[in-house]
C-alpha cells in the first residue's frame, strides 16, 4: 500500500469517527462556551436548501425558467416563482443564534436544474462490493466522478443506493451512512435462451409449479376466512423467488437480444402474468409490438452493435432506432452505457460517466428528448421501485438534483453542481477533475453561500429578485422535436466560446 493510500484510509476513519457523534441531537456548544451566550442556542430543527434562478426541469416535462426550488430536510417542498425562502425572504433579520434552521442557497441563474440521473446499474462507484453498507467508501474518487457525471442514485450489487458523499458541515450534522441504501434489490435474474433448451424447460417447470401453488394458495386465503382450521398449503417444490415474481413483488429480469428469445419471453410473460424487464433487447425493435403487449420494460444501450444473423429470414441485428421504436410501442425504456464502471484509460464516452451521451444516441435514432431524459432519470427509478423518491423534481420527493451549464443531452454540457438529499455534494470548480474545462465565468455564477447572521441580508434579497426578472427569453424549447431551436442554442454557445477565447 502506498503512502497516499495509507494516509487516505487513516483520514477516512478519523473523519468518520469524528463526525458521527454518539448523540447528534446534543447541542455542540451548549456546555463549552457558557460565558459567551447567556441563553442556550436554539437547537437546529430544519435544514433548508434553495436553488434559485435556474431553468427547472420539473416532473412531467415542464420547464420553469428562472424558478426557485426549495427543499426542507432533504425533501422538495416548493417549485415555482413565488417561493419564499426562510432566512432570505422572511426571518432575514433574525440573528443566527435565534434561528432553529439553517438555509443554504445555490444561485443557478443562467444554468439548468435537472433531477439527479439514475443509473440502473454500475460498478465500483463507491469502491463497494458484496454487502454495500459495509464496504462502501464515501470518500472514493469514483463517487466524485460519478456525481460529476450527474448520477445521484444507482443500482448496486444488492439494492439501490444514493451517491451520498460525505460532506463536512459547520455546524456538523448527523451523518448516517447506512441511510444511503434506498431499497433492496427489486429484481430476480432469469435466463431464457435458444442456446439452452433445458434451461427454458426448467424455467417453465418452475413457473408452472409456482402458478399452481399460487392458485391453491389464493383459494386457501379465501377459504380460511370461513374455516380457521384450514392448513396453509405447503410450499414444497416451489421456488420462492419465482413465486415473488408471480405475486408482483419483484420483477423478472432477462438478458436477451435474439428476436426469437424476446418473443419467447413475451409469450411466457403473458402466459404466466408477469411483466419482464429485458436487458440488451437489441433486436427488440423487430418485435416491439409483441413486447409492448407483454408489458415488458427494456434496458438498452443505443449504440450497442450487433450484426444480423444471416440465417434469420426476417429483419434483425441492432438498430440505432431501437429505443425510439420500443418507446413507440409503449415499452418503458431505461438507457445504460456500455460500461457500468468508471473508465479513465482514455477512451471516453462509453462508461457510466457519460450516461447522457448514450441517451443522446437514442435521440439520434428518433427518441424524443423528453423520453431520453426520462430513460436516465424517472424510468430507471421506477424500474428499481424508488420512483416515488427520486428520478424527477416534484414536491414531496427527495431533493436530488444536478445543475448544468446547458442541455443535459448536449455533448459539451458539464454538471456544475450536484445535490443529494438537499445537500450540495459536488461543485465542479472545487474538485480536481474538470475544474479547468470551461470554468464558470467569474461572477456569472455565484458560489453557494450559507446565510449566516453576519451576512448582509439586503444583498441576498437583491439576488433573489434578480432571479425572477424576465430575460431568459429566446432560448429554444426543450420539448424534444424542435431541432431548429436546439441548433440555435449551439450557435449561441459557439459565440460565447469565441468570447472566452479572446479573453
Amino acid at each position: 500500500m502506498s503512502t497516499h493510500e495509507t494516509l487516505f484510509a487513516t483520514l477516512a476513519v478519523t473523519l468518520l469517527g469524528s463526525v458521527a457523534p454518539a448523540d447528534p441531537a446534543q447541542p455542540w456548544t451548549a456546555d463549552d462556551e457558557p460565558e459567551e451566550s447567556e441563553k442556550a442556542p436554539v437547537e437546529i430543527e430544519d435544514y433548508y436548501f434553495a436553488v434559485t434562478g435556474g431553468d427547472v426541469h420539473a416532473a412531467g416535462g415542464e420547464v420553469l425558467r428562472g424558478a426557485t426550488l426549495l427543499a426542507k430536510n432533504g425533501k422538495i417542498t416548493h417549485i415555482g416563482y413565488d417561493v419564499e425562502i426562510p432566512g432570505v425572504d422572511y426571518f432575514a433579520d433574525m440573528p443566527q443564534e435565534d434561528r432553529n434552521f439553517v438555509t443554504e442557497t445555490l444561485d443557478a441563474t443562467g444554468l439548468r436544474v435537472y433531477p439527479g440521473l439514475v443509473a440502473i446499474s454500475s460498478s465500483g462507484l463507491m469502491g463497494a462490493s458484496g454487502d454495500f453498507a459495509d464496504t462502501a467508501d464515501p470518500f472514493h474518487q469514483n463517487l466524485v466522478l460519478a456525481l460529476g457525471g450527474g448520477i445521484t442514485s444507482t443500482g448496486a450489487s444488492r439494492g439501490v443506493v444514493k451517491l451520498k458523499r460525505y460532506v463536512e458541515h459547520d455546524p456538523p450534522r448527523d451523518y448516517d451512512f447506512g441511510g444511503i441504501v434506498l431499497g433492496e434489490s427489486t429484481y430476480v435474474s432469469l435466463s431464457w435462451s435458444g442456446r439452452s433448451p433445458s434451461g427454458k424447460a426448467s424455467l417453465r417447470e418452475k413457473l408452472t409449479a409456482a402458478a399452481d401453488y399460487l392458485r391453491v394458495y389464493r383459494q386457501w386465503e379465501a377459504d380460511v376466512k370461513k374455516d380457521k382450521e384450514l392448513e396453509e398449503p405447503r410450499k414444497t417444490g416451489v421456488d420462492s423467488s419465482i413465486l415473488a415474481i408471480l405475486k408482483g413483488e419483484v420483477r423478472a429480469r432477462f438478458g436477451a437480444d435474439d428476436r426469437d428469445d424476446l418473443l419467447g419471453i413475451a409469450r411466457l410473460a403473458q402466459e404466466f402474468g408477469f411483466r419482464p424487464v429485458i436487458k440488451g433487447c437489441r433486436e427488440g425493435w423487430t418485435v416491439a409490438d409483441e413486447l409492448g403487449r407483454a408489458g415488458a420494460s427494456a434496458i438498452i444501450t443505443p449504440r450497442s452493435r450487433r450484426d444480423k444473423n444471416e440465417d434469420l429470414v426476417r429483419e434483425g441485428g441492432s438498430s440505432i432506432e431501437n429505443a425510439a421504436l420500443l418507446h413507440a410501442a409503449g415499452i418503458p425504456i431505461v438507457i445504460e452505457p456500455q460500461s457500468g464502471g468508471v473508465n479513465l484509460s482514455g477512451i471516453v464516452g462509453r462508461d457510466i460517466l457519460h450516461l447522457p451521451v448514450e441517451a443522446a444516441f437514442a435521440v439520434r435514432g428518433g427518441l424524443s428528448e423528453a423520453a431520453a431524459l426520462d430513460a436516465i432519470t424517472i424510468e430507471p427509478a421506477r424500474m428499481m421501485g424508488i420512483g416515488h423518491r427520486v428520478g424527477s423534481l416534484a414536491v414531496g420527493k427527495d431533493c436530488d438534483l444536478i445543475v448544468t451549464d446547458g442541455d443535459v443531452l448536449h455533448y459539451q454540457t458539464f454538471v456544475q453542481y450536484a445535490v443529494v438529499d438537499g445537500e450540495l455534494v459536488y461543485d465542479k470548480e472545487k474538485e480536481l477533475f474538470y475544474a479547468h474545462i470551461r470554468p464558470r465565468a467569474q461572477g456569472e455564477v455565484a458560489p453557494p453561500e450559507k446565510l449566516d447572521a453576519g451576512e448582509n441580508p439586503e444583498e441576498q434579497e437583491d439576488e433573489g429578485d434578480g432571479g425572477e426578472d424576465p430575460g431568459e427569453e429566446g432560448e429554444g424549447e426543450d420539448s424534444g422535436d424542435d431541432g431548429g431551436d436546439e441548433e440555435a442554442d449551439e450557435e449561441e454557445e459557439g459565440d460565447e466560446a469565441e468570447g472566452d477565447g479572446g479573453a
Binding site: 450484426d307 484509460s345 464516452g349 428518433g366 431541432g483 469565441e498 472566452d500
Partner: protein, 429 residues
C-alpha cells in the same frame, strides 16, 4: 412518434430529383445538375468564412460547381432543385486511421519489423458492413492502413466509401506509409525496445530515401535504371511528397521522435495519427515542423500518481488530448477512430468528446477536425474535405451540428451519387 424525416425524406428525396437508379441529376456523366438548398451549409474551407446560412450547393458531374447564399446563387435552368428546409449540409468526413475498409485479419502481417512493401490496397472490400454503417455516421473517405504490430506495417490506401469497385473507391494509392513508432511493435518476436526500433526504422527509411534518390537521378539524367525493389518503391512518392507517412505515435517522447526523425532529419511529410496520451506536450515542436495531429481513439489523458513522476507540472486532472494540443498552440488538429477499436461511424464522436474535454470550437474546429484538417494532412484537400467549387460532391445532409450525437445523417452523396439515404435504406446509425 416517428421523426419527420421518415415521412418527409422519401417525399423530398425520392421525388424526380432523387429517383434511384443511374442517371440521377448531379451524378457523373449526367448533363443535368442538382441544386441542394439548406438552412446552413458548413463549407469549412482552409481559410475564410466557414458557414453559409440559407445556402445552395450546385452539383454537376459528380463535382461541386458552386456554393453560395441561395439569394445570390443562380440555379441553371433545367437543374433539379431540392429544398432541404431546416437541414444542414456538411462535407463528408474523413477518417485517417481505419482498419475495416478491407480484410481486418489481413492487415497485420508481421513478417519483418519493417515491411514497407506490404499494401493494404490488396485487401479493400467496398461496401462491407462496416463501411455501410460508417456512411450512416457521415464518413465518406478513409485511410485504410495496416496494423501496428510492426514499426512499418505497410502502405495504406485512401478510399471513398459507398461505391462498388476498387477502381471507383480509390483516391490515392499509396495513401500513406504506416509507421508505428511505439506502443505495439515492442511485442515483435521476443520483444524489442525503443533504441533498436528507432535504429531499425531509421535504417529502413534511409535506405528507402537512397533508393528514391537513385530513381530520381535516373529520371533526371537517364542512363541505366536502378534495379526495382518492391520493398522500397513507396519511398519514391514519399520522397517527392506525393504521399505521407501516417504515424501511430502517442507519447511525448515518441511524438518528438516522429517529428525529428521523419520530418526534420529525413524531410518526409508526416502526420501524427492515433495521437493520444500526453503527446500534446510535443505539440509546439509538431506545430513548428508543420506536422498535423490527428487524434484518437483515446480522448483524455489522466496522469496517475502511481505511474507518472509527480513534478507538479501535471496537476491531477482529466486532460483532454485535443485540448492539450490546442492549448500548446497546435493549429492542425483532427480526429480518427482506429476502427474497429471504435466504430467508424463514430468518427464525429471523437470530435464531440474532444470538445467535451476542452477543445475550443469557436472557429468550427470540431467540424474541421473531421473534414478539411485530415484532407490537408493526407494531401487530398484538392478533392475532398470542404464544400467548394471544383471539389468532389461528397456531401452530408444532416439534421444539425454534425458533431452532436443527436444529429442524424439523413443522406450522403459521394461523387454526386446518393450512396446512403436513411429514408430509402433504413437508418444505419
Amino acid at each position: 412518434m416517428k421523426r419527420p424525416f421518415h415521412s418527409l425524406l422519401p417525399l423530398v428525396l425520392s421525388g424526380a430529383a432523387f429517383a434511384s437508379g443511374p442517371g440521377n441529376p448531379g451524378e457523373p456523366g449526367v448533363e443535368q445538375g442538382l441544386a441542394l438548398k439548406a438552412a446552413k451549409v458548413l463549407t469549412v474551407p482552409v481559410d475564410g468564412p466557414q458557414v453559409v446560412d440559407n445556402g445552395v450547393v450546385l452539383v454537376h458531374d459528380g463535382r461541386i460547381e458552386a456554393v453560395g447564399p441561395a439569394a445570390t446563387t443562380a440555379i441553371p435552368k433545367g437543374w433539379e432543385t431540392i429544398d432541404l428546409g431546416e437541414r444542414w449540409l456538411a462535407p463528408g468526413m474523413i477518417d485517417l486511421h481505419n482498419h475495416v475498409a478491407g480484410g481486418l485479419r489481413d492487415l497485420n502481417d508481421m513478417v519483418y519489423l519493417t515491411n514497407p512493401g506490404l499494401r493494404a490496397s490488396t485487401t479493400i472490400t467496398p461496401r462491407n458492413s462496416n463501411v455501410q454503417r460508417a456512411l450512416g455516421g457521415g464518413v465518406t473517405s478513409v485511410l485504410l492502413i495496416p496494423g501496428s504490430g510492426t514499426n512499418v506495417g505497410g502502405q495504406g490506401v485512401l478510399v471513398k466509401l459507398g461505391h462498388h469497385s476498387y477502381e471507383e473507391v480509390e483516391i490515392r494509392n499509396p495513401g500513406s506509409l504506416k509507421l508505428a513508432q511505439a506502443g505495439n511493435p515492442e511485442r515483435f518476436l521476443f520483444g524489442v525496445g525503443r533504441s533498436f526500433m528507432n535504429w531499425n526504422t531509421r535504417n529502413t527509411f534511409r535506405r528507402g530515401v537512397a533508393y528514391a534518390k537513385r530513381w530520381e537521378a535516373h529520371e533526371r539524367e537517364g542512363g541505366e535504371g536502378p534495379a526495382v525493389d518492391p520493398q522500397f518503391e513507396v519511398f519514391r512518392p514519399l520522397y517527392t511528397k506525393q504521399t505521407q507517412v501516417s504515424t501511430h505515435t502517442q507519447m511525448y517522447q515518441v511524438v518528438m521522435m516522429t517529428v525529428l526523425m521523419i520530418k526534420q532529419e529525413l524531410g518526409i511529410d508526416v502526420y501524427i495519427d492515433h495521437g493520444t496520451f500526453d503527446g500534446w506536450r510535443a505539440a509546439p515542436l509538431a506545430e513548428a515542423a508543420a506536422v498535423p495531429a490527428i487524434l484518437g481513439p483515446r480522448n483524455i489523458s489522466v496522469p496517475s500518481r502511481r505511474m507518472i513522476d509527480w513534478t507538479g507540472s501535471n496537476p491531477e486532472r482529466i486532460q483532454g488530448v485535443a485540448a492539450g494540443y490546442q492549448d500548446m498552440g497546435h493549429t492542425m488538429i483532427g480526429f480518427n477512430t482506429d476502427a474497429p477499436v471504435l466504430p467508424s461511424e463514430e468518427l464525429f464522436f471523437q470530435a464531440s468528446m474532444g470538445v467535451r474535454y476542452g477543445f475550443r470550437w469557436d472557429e468550427l474546429q470540431s467540424v474541421r477536425g473531421v473534414t478539411i484538417v485530415p484532407a490537408l494532412a493526407a494531401g487530398i484537400a484538392d478533392r475532398v474535405g470542404s464544400l467548394e467549387a471544383g471539389k468532389d460532391a461528397d456531401i452530408l445532409i444532416i439534421g444539425g451540428d454534425p458533431v452532436d450525437p443527436r444529429s442524424m445523417v439523413e443522406a450522403v452523396l459521394v461523387d454526386g451519387v446518393r450512396v446512403y439515404d436513411a429514408g430509402r435504406d433504413g437508418q444505419r446509425f
